[in-house]
């Protein structure tokens, strides 16, 4: 089963990766750390599940290629891309370090953001979960997400 992890923070990714591996070895993990690579990948491929960060850079940072645009709602951009590509039924879990998520220029609590994304973008299989280093809640939620 292909699982796409969109995460720019190496440490957070390592935690996610080790959680997935500890849960099952049947997952093939693909990781991107920016919106550009993710969009290009999604144009041609469809993973089975997506673990998504919210705040992402636009492009990979490389010497001599300029500064990537910082996209605090980069996760939303990925969601809009999926919507455009008619991949709205893909299961997604958003793991975010922030208590509020910006959806359509408004800060929302996680349940509000989840409801709004489902309502506005018709992404019915989305879960938004708080990520906190060392906490168990996000791990449990992710395991449930992987299990479903």
């Amino acid at each position: 089963m292909d699982i796409l992890v969109v995460e720019d923070d190496d440490f957070k990714f390592e935690e996610i990766e080790s959680l997935i591996k500890s849960f099952s070895d049947k997952f093939h993990i693909k990781r991107y750390g920016n919106v550009f690579d993710t969009v290009r990948y999604l144009n041609n491929s469809t993973p089975d599940k997506i673990i998504l960060d919210m705040s992402l850079p636009s492009h990979p940072a490389k010497p001599g290629e300029g500064t990537p645009v910082s996209m605090p709602s980069g996760g939303i951009e990925v969601i809009l891309e999926l919507r455009y590509l008619k991949k709205i039924s893909l299961p997604i879990i958003v793991l975010t370090q922030f208590s509020h998520v910006e959806v359509e220029h408004e800060y929302c609590t996680m349940p509000e953001a989840e409801r709004k994304i489902k309502e506005l973008y018709r992404m019915d299989n989305i879960i938004i979960q708080a990520y906190e280093k060392g906490s168990q809640a996000w791990k449990d939620a992710t395991i449930d997400f992987l299990r479903d």
């Binding site: 957070k12 290009r40 940072a61 010497p63 500064t67 645009v69 220029h105 800060y107 906190e132």
Partner: protein, 959 residues
């Protein structure tokens, strides 16, 4: 002759207590005392006694100076009562009692309008002055005066009339009704954003009389009895003349008013009819102002005139952002719209070119203005229920002869047009319109996708698409040029594979557009972007700046909240900035009242928002991209992991080592925690130790803020360009915040050296443990150094947001560009200065780039291909200037003589001499730059011994 209107209201008061209370304010000039007395009466006496008390205050000469309530006034009331809805019958009865006086006033006002019509403006001023002396002042006169002010461009005695009007307005004590004055200015000023004002006025509550009066300027037809009664009562608390004018005005449109029109005095009605039938359109005064669109913006100033009333009714009903506008039209509005557009049945009946005329009575495609054509189109789309099939091409073409369709066309129709679009052109246009209308992430994403799809399908690049669209619609092109900034292009992920490509494409677009329309400022912007690209290519480090401000959101915020205010203050101001530094006390601007203080306070507010806004400001990025987990993840995890390494386990069996490391690690963690909780914040009461100050709190920031003020003024006064002000503000906000970012980088460096270095006294350990302990310390410190370097880099100003570059990088970029141009040029570079010492921002470094380019190009063309090129910077001779020298070598003494002679010839000749063209030596350009003040003291010196040419220039680094 002064008005004497005395009635028996005082005697009608039944209660002695009320009479006595009122007697206490006879002759009073203290509005507070009057209001207090009225409040007491209201709370303790009967309703009828209260009404009679207010009527007495309004009409009895004993209270003529009360400053709160008078039927007839000579200037604005000192203070107005909180809104109280007065029964229309009470108002009608007062009107009836004063009908003779009011009829006379209306005749006087007719005379005022006739004089304006004939452009006898000096006489208008005299007449209005007399009317005010006779207590016949009203808001009508204020509006009329502003109409004249806005319409006398180009009159011979313009200055004289303006002074007279300003004197009258001063006498009218407009300061007492400051908000009314401000809204009149904003609404009637074509350089302000109509929709923005509309939105703000719409959002104001109806609790105060002044608010209701202000609202009536925009919403001139009440849509409910409640709205009518509140507005009428509001005018009633200002003056009886304005009350009647409002009543008479709205009577033309509403059948549901809670009054019997027959109760209005007939003579008054006739006098109003005389006034309202005056046709200002017959006068050339409305055409004096070049911008035809102004007429719509000014109609509220003369709303009593039938032609203004009808014109405003039609266009106000359609030219707004209300998506339900067609459901909410009144019968009166429908009939007016139907009559006005009776000749329009199809898209082909509209105008396809920009006309210069007004269609006041009825729409005609032959000479309709942009606004008229736009309302015509929207009305037609409604008639066609959004179905434009068969006329797609015409719709796209109409984009060049209409405006704001995205705002004024209901979204439902735009969606219908988009979903049924058969051509790529219409798909693109409708996606643009929807993104303008909705301004949502979803709409913007759809637009980006459409642009990408069409570009990939049919064109080589985004620029090619824009060129193609330009042949169809210049307005759509303009819109694309506006939106396709670097950030937008970066997000075209299927076209833009690296950030630098977005800047390159933006430069290509601007370059093409600037050249096509001969706009030098756009060409200059393109050139500057190319320099950024050149500089970025030279950077050998990864740009991972996490501090960022979303430019679109911030400029939009400035546009919505402050652009109109800044424009109004600058128009009103008597200051003008040349090259001198303005004396602005930034600590006091928030409490000042002068135009300069107010503009200063607006700029300060913009900067504060730039830093503190949680959605798009620096604060947002501090939280999201830096504090939350990222710092810990970066700075702790690897340090922790060293401890767990097998080879170091032995060390942790040594108690002293373990204790010392744990102590150090705790303080290291505490330091990171304090960065998160105390320091990496916007400084505020909640975070007094926050390192980012949303104010101009240091001298360098003050200098930058002064220059921001200067550039904003220049943009307005010199370039007559208000729309660019938000971009100027954004650029300077970055320059200001860079001061705090520098400090943050410095503080982080200090924190690292204080808390991030683990040292252990290994004396007493055996040799192998000693070596191991040293290795451990070395690894820990190498990691903390590396991690802090990364963290420090997050606080670099992103180059895409506001470019800046250090001088050495600039020099390298120039060398690289010249190498591409001059084959074989591969000099031995000598740069002996600290890279981080000289960083230049924005406009400044582009000038230096140009100057350096000329010098290096000359060195490449006339010097030794593989000789030395030395770059020298000297800042020791002045605190505000830097001298840049470029030393280059030639091969032989003969060549040196040739160079000397060539340069001498160039310097001797007038720099306009066609022989010294840019392509040949560039010295002309260099001298032009000197002449224009970008650089100074251009010199060429020579060393015969070293066979060297030393070229130098000086530039000012005031900000």
């Amino acid at each position: 002759m002064k008005i004497r209107s005395e009635f028996n209201s005082f005697n009608k008061i039944k209660s002695i207590k009320t009479k006595n209370a009122l007697r206490a304010v006879i002759g009073s000039r203290d509005p507070k005392q009057v209001i207090k007395t009225l409040t007491r009466i209201k709370n303790s006496c009967s309703e009828s006694d209260y009404i009679n008390s207010t009527e007495a205050l309004r009409n009895n000469f004993l209270f003529k100076d009360n400053g709160v309530l008078r039927s007839f006034i000579s200037s604005s009331p000192v203070q107005m009562l909180q809104l109280e809805v007065v029964h229309p019958k009470v108002i009608l009865s007062n009107l009836e009692r004063n009908s003779d006086i009011l009829t006379g006033v209306l005749h006087d006002y007719c005379q005022v309008l006739e004089l304006i019509k004939n452009e006898r403006l000096e006489e208008v001023c005299v007449l209005i002055n007399t009317l005010m002396d006779d207590e016949k002042y009203s808001l009508f006169l204020v509006r009329v005066l502003f109409f004249i002010k806005n319409s006398i461009d180009g009159l011979l005695d313009q200055e004289n009339i303006l002074t007279k009007i300003d004197n009258i307005l001063f006498k009218a004590k407009l300061d007492n009704i400051k908000n009314v004055e401000l809204v009149i200015k904003e609404l009637s000023n074509p350089r302000t954003d109509y929709f923005n004002i509309y939105k703000r006025v719409e959002a104001t509550n109806r609790k105060s009389a002044l608010n209701n009066i202000i609202k009536s300027f925009v919403f001139h037809i009440p849509k409910s009895v409640d709205e009518f009664e509140k507005t009428l009562s509001s005018f009633y608390s200002f003056s009886l003349i304005d009350t009647f004018l409002y009543l008479a005005s709205v009577s033309r449109s509403s059948n549901y008013l809670p009054i019997d029109k027959t109760e209005i005095n007939n003579e008054l009605i006739q006098a109003f009819n005389l006034l309202s039938n005056i046709k200002i359109s017959e006068s050339s005064i409305i055409y004096r102002n070049n911008e035809i669109e102004n007429f719509f913006r000014q109609t509220f100033l003369l709303i009593e005139l039938n032609e203004c009333f009808k014109y405003k009714t039609v266009h106000y009903a359609l030219y707004n952002r209300n998506p339900n506008k067609f459901f909410e039209l009144t019968e009166f509005e429908k009939s007016q719209i139907s009559y006005y557009f009776s000749e329009v049945h199809d898209l082909k009946d509209l105008s396809y070119k920009e006309n210069e005329n007004l269609n006041i009575d009825q729409y005609s495609s032959k000479d309709s203005s942009l606004l008229e054509n736009s309302t015509a189109l929207v009305n037609l789309i409604n008639k066609m229920n959004g179905d434009i099939s068969g006329q797609e091409e015409l719709f796209v073409k109409l984009m060049s002869s209409t405006k704001d369709i995205g705002f004024i066309c209901p979204g439902e129709y735009l969606q219908m047009i988009e979903s049924s679009a058969k051509t790529d052109e219409l798909r693109l246009v409708s996606a643009c319109l929807i993104s303008i209308a909705n301004q949502t992430d979803l709409a913007e994403h759809s637009l980006r996708r459409v642009i990408q799809e069409i570009t990939i399908k049919k064109f080589e690049s985004l620029l090619d698409l824009i060129k193609y669209i330009n042949d169809i619609s210049s307005s759509v092109t303009e819109h694309l040029i506006d939106i396709c900034d670097e950030t937008f292009i970066s997000k075209l992920f299927n076209l833009t594979d690296k950030p630098i490509a977005a800047i390159e494409e933006r430069a290509n677009i601007l370059d093409w557009y600037g050249n096509k329309y001969k706009d030098l400022s756009i060409i200059e912007r393109a050139k500057n972007l190319r320099i950024d690209v050149q500089i970025s290519k030279q950077k050998e480090t990864i740009d991972d700046a996490r501090i960022y401000v979303e430019p679109t959101k911030f400029t939009k915020w400035v546009g919505e909240h402050f652009l109109n205010k800044i424009t109004i203050q600058l128009e009103d101001s008597d200051f003008y900035f040349d090259n001198t530094t303005p004396a602005i006390d930034w600590e006091k601007v928030s409490t000042g009242f002068s135009s300069k203080d107010l503009v200063g306070s607006y700029l300060l507010s913009c900067y504060s928002e730039f830093c503190s806004n949680n959605l798009f400001g620096i604060a947002s990025y501090l939280g999201r991209r830096i504090r939350h987990g990222t710092i810990e993840g970066t700075a702790i995890a690897e340090v922790e992991s060293i401890k767990k390494q097998e080879r170091f386990k032995r060390l942790f069996l040594i108690k002293r080592f373990e204790d010392e490391f744990n102590n150090w690690f705790s303080s290291y963690e505490e330091m990171l925690e304090s960065l998160k909780t105390n320091y990496l914040h916007i400084n505020s009461r909640k975070f007094p130790d926050g390192w980012l100050h949303p104010s101009f709190n240091t001298q360098p920031k003050v200098i930058t803020a002064n220059n921001m003020f200067k550039d904003v003024c220049n943009s307005f006064f010199v370039h007559q360009y208000a729309a660019g002000i938000p971009y100027i503000i954004t650029d300077y906000c970055w320059r200001c915040v860079e001061e705090d970012l520098k400090l943050i980088r410095k503080n982080l460096g200090e924190f690292r050296s204080r808390y991030g270095t683990f040292g252990f006294d290994s004396s007493g350990l055996d040799k192998s443990d000693k070596k191991l302990a040293q290795d451990f310390c070395h690894e820990v410190n190498a990691i903390t150094t590396d991690k802090f370097r990364t963290i420090v880099s997050w606080f670099n100003k992103p180059s895409i947001a506001s470019p800046s570059a250090n001088l050495v990088l600039l020099f390298k970029a120039v060398i690289s560009e010249v190498k591409d141009r001059v084959g074989g040029f591969n000099p031995l570079l000598k740069v002996d200065i600290d890279e981080s010492r000289f960083t230049l921002s924005g406009g400044l470094y582009f000038a230096i780039y140009d100057a350096l380019n000329i010098l290096v190009f000359n060195a490449a063309k006339h010097g030794s291909e593989r000789g030395k090129v030395e770059f020298l910077v000297d800042d020791s001779f002045s605190t505000s200037s830097i001298k840049i020298s470029l030393v280059s070598q030639v091969c032989t003494s003969d060549e040196l003589e040739l160079v000397k002679a060539r340069i001498a010839r160039c310097f001797e000749k007038n720099f306009e001499d066609a022989h010294v063209v840019e392509g040949e030596s560039g010295i002309k350009k260099l001298r032009q730059m000197e002449d224009e003040g970008y650089i100074s003291d251009v010199k060429y010196e020579f060393s015969n011994v070293e066979k060297e040419v030393i070229a130098s220039f000086v530039f000012d680094v005031s900000y």
